[in-house]
C-alpha cells in the first residue's frame, strides 16, 4: 500500500514547484535549524534519495508551507509519505528509540501515552475512574486491537 517516490511526487504536485521558497520562508522549524523545505521538494522531484536526508525529520507537520504554496504542491503530505519510505529504508529521527517506545505502548496498552500509577491516583482525586474507559480497559477489546495491529505494516517496521 505504501507509495513509491514517483507516486509521491506526482500526487503531491511536486512538478508544479517553481522553487519560489515560500515554503522555506514560512517554516517554523527552518528558523531554528537546517531544514529547507524547498530543497527537500527539489531533491524529491529530481529523484534523489531524499529519504536519507536527516532534515526530513525536522518538520513538525504544521502544514503552513502546504497552506501557503502558490502552486498547490502538497509539501507536508509529501514529507510524511517520504518518511514512510525512510522508515522502510531504516532512516530514523535523532532519538530513534522514543517513537518506537510510543508505538510499543500503543500495542501493549492501546495508548501512545500510557497511564502511570501517579496519574491514576490523580484521576481518582478529581473524581474520575482510576482507569479511563478505553480499549485497554477490557481484555477482549485489547486482544482484538492487537490482532488488528499484528497485520499492519507499522508493527513490522518497529520490530526491525
Amino acid at each position: 500500500m505504501s507509495k513509491t517516490m514517483k507516486e509521491i511526487t506526482e500526487r503531491g504536485n511536486a512538478y508544479n514547484c517553481i522553487q519560489c521558497g515560500r515554503c522555506t520562508g514560512s517554516c517554523p522549524s527552518g528558523r531554528e535549524c537546517s531544514i529547507r523545505t524547498r530543497k527537500l521538494i527539489h531533491l524529491a522531484k529530481m529523484g534523489e534519495e531524499v529519504f536519507a536526508v536527516p532534515e526530513l525529520w525536522e518538520c513538525t507537520t504544521c502544514f503552513t508551507c502546504q497552506e501557503r504554496c502558490p502552486k498547490d504542491v502538497k509539501t507536508t503530505d509529501m514529507i510524511i509519505e517520504i518518511r514512510n519510505i525512510a522508515v522502510s529504508e531504516n532512516y530514523f529521527p535523532t532519538m530513534s528509540e522514543v517513537p518506537k517506545i510510543i508505538i510499543k505502548s500503543l500495542y501493549d496498552t492501546g495508548s501512545g501515552q500510557p497511564l502511570s500509577p501517579e496519574v491514576s491516583k490523580m484521576r481518582s482525586i478529581i473524581g474520575l475512574a482510576k482507569e479511563p474507559f478505553d480499549v485497554g480497559k477490557n481484555e477482549k477489546d485489547l486482544k482484538d486491537f492487537q490482532k488488528l495491529l499484528d497485520i499492519l505494516p507499522l508493527m513490522k517496521e518497529v520490530a526491525k
Binding site: M1, S2, P28, S29, R31, E32, C33, W57, E58, C59, T60, T61, C62, F63, T64, Q66, E67, T76, I80, R83, N84, V87, P93, T94, M95, S96, V98, P99, I102, I103, L106, G110, S111, G112, Q113, P114, L115, S116, V119, M122, I125, I126, G127, P132, F133, D134, V135, K137, D141, D144, F145, K147, L148, L149, I151, L152, P153, L154, M155, V158
Partner: protein
C-alpha cells in the same frame, strides 16, 4: 439533548486528566451528552502517520467505526486527535481504494466503517451554542490570555474548512466569558511538538517553543489558553525544561470550567508542572466580586 461520542485522547486522560474532567463538567453544564467508547490512541499524526500511513488510516478508522452504529459524531479535545480522525474520515470518503483496504484490515476483527461517523472539534460545538456558553458564565474572570489554535485544527484548510491565516473563533470564545485575547508576535506558529519532533528531535522542539514563549511573555498574560491536549503538554512541560518561564497553561475547557463556577480542584489545575497558584488566587478574587 445533543449527544456526541467523546474522544478524550491519550494525553487528556493519561497525562492531564484534568482536561478530560473539565470537558465532562463543561459539556454537562451545556446540556450536551458525552458517551464513552473503547477507543485506542487516535493514533498520532506525527509518530504513526510518519512511520506507516496505512496503519494510521486503519487504527483511526477503527475508532471512527466504534460509534457509527449509534449514529454519533465524535467530539475531540485535541488538535492532534482531530487532525488524525478528521483526515482519516476525509481521505476515506474520497478514496475508495483506500476505504476498501482499510475495511479489509478491519474485517480481521469483525469491524467495518462506512465513512458516516464524523469527527468534530469541541470548539466547533461551542461555536454552535454561543448563547448557552454566555448564559452559563457565573464568574467574570477578566483574564488577559494568549490563545493558541493548534495547527491541525486549522490546517490543511482544504480538509478542515477553516481560515488558517486569520482565525477568530478562539478569540471570540474566550470573549464570551469575559476574557481578553491579547495579540502577540507570530501567534499562529506551531508549538514545535508535532510531526514526531517532540519525541524524535527534542532539542529542536524546545527551540521552537522557546521562541513562542518569549513572544508570549512580552505581553504579560494571565494564561496561555489552548484547544489541544498535545500543545498543552508542550507548553507546560517545556517551561519546566527551560526553567526560565512560569506562564500558566489552561485548556479552553479548564478556562470555561472556571468561568462556569466549577471548583479548580475538579478541573485539575494543580496537575500542571507550571504552578497555577497565582491564577487560582485571581479566580478566588473574581469569584468574590461576582458573588
Amino acid at each position: 439533548m445533543r449527544e456526541y461520542a467523546y474522544f478524550p485522547g491519550c494525553i487528556g486522560k493519561n497525562v492531564y486528566p484534568g482536561i478530560e474532567k473539565a470537558t465532562r463538567l463543561v459539556f454537562d453544564t451545556l446540556d450536551v451528552g458525552l458517551r464513552d467508547y473503547a477507543y485506542s490512541c487516535c493514533p498520532p499524526p506525527g509518530v504513526v502517520a510518519c512511520y506507516d500511513k496505512e496503519s494510521w488510516y486503519t487504527i483511526g478508522a477503527r475508532n471512527l467505526a466504534l460509534s457509527e452504529q449509534d449514529g454519533l459524531d465524535i467530539m475531540t479535545i485535541c488538535a492532534g486527535c482531530y487532525g488524525t480522525l478528521h483526515n482519516v474520515w476525509h481521505e476515506l470518503n474520497h478514496n475508495k481504494e483506500l476505504m476498501d483496504k482499510v475495511n479489509e484490515n478491519l474485517d480481521t476483527i469483525g469491524m467495518s466503517y462506512s465513512g458516516k461517523s464524523r469527527p468534530i472539534h469541541f470548539v466547533d460545538i461551542l461555536d454552535s451554542m454561543r448563547d448557552k456558553v454566555k448564559s452559563s458564565k457565573e464568574i467574570d474572570l477578566g483574564f488577559k490570555v494568549a490563545v493558541h489554535y493548534g495547527c491541525h485544527y486549522l490546517k490543511p484548510s482544504d480538509v478542515t474548512g477553516e481560515s488558517p491565516e486569520e482565525p477568530t473563533l478562539l478569540d471570540e470564545l474566550v470573549g464570551l466569558i469575559g476574557c481578553e485575547s491579547v495579540p502577540f508576535k507570530d501567534r499562529l506558529t506551531c508549538c514545535g511538538a508535532g510531526g514526531g519532533v517532540m519525541s524524535g528531535e527534542p532539542d529542536l522542539s524546545l527551540k521552537i517553543i522557546k521562541t513562542k514563549l518569549d513572544n508570549i511573555r512580552k505581553k504579560d498574560v494571565d494564561a496561555i489558553v489552548n484547544i489541544c491536549s498535545f500543545c498543552h503538554m508542550q507548553f507546560d512541560q517545556s517551561q519546566k525544561k527551560l526553567k526560565t518561564f512560569d506562564i500558566p497553561v489552561l485548556h479552553l475547557n479548564q478556562l470555561l470550567g472556571l468561568a462556569f463556577g466549577h471548583k479548580q480542584k475538579h478541573l485539575g489545575l494543580h496537575m500542571n508542572l507550571v504552578s497555577n497558584r497565582d491564577l487560582v488566587k485571581k479566580v478566588k478574587m473574581a469569584r468574590k466580586v461576582s458573588a
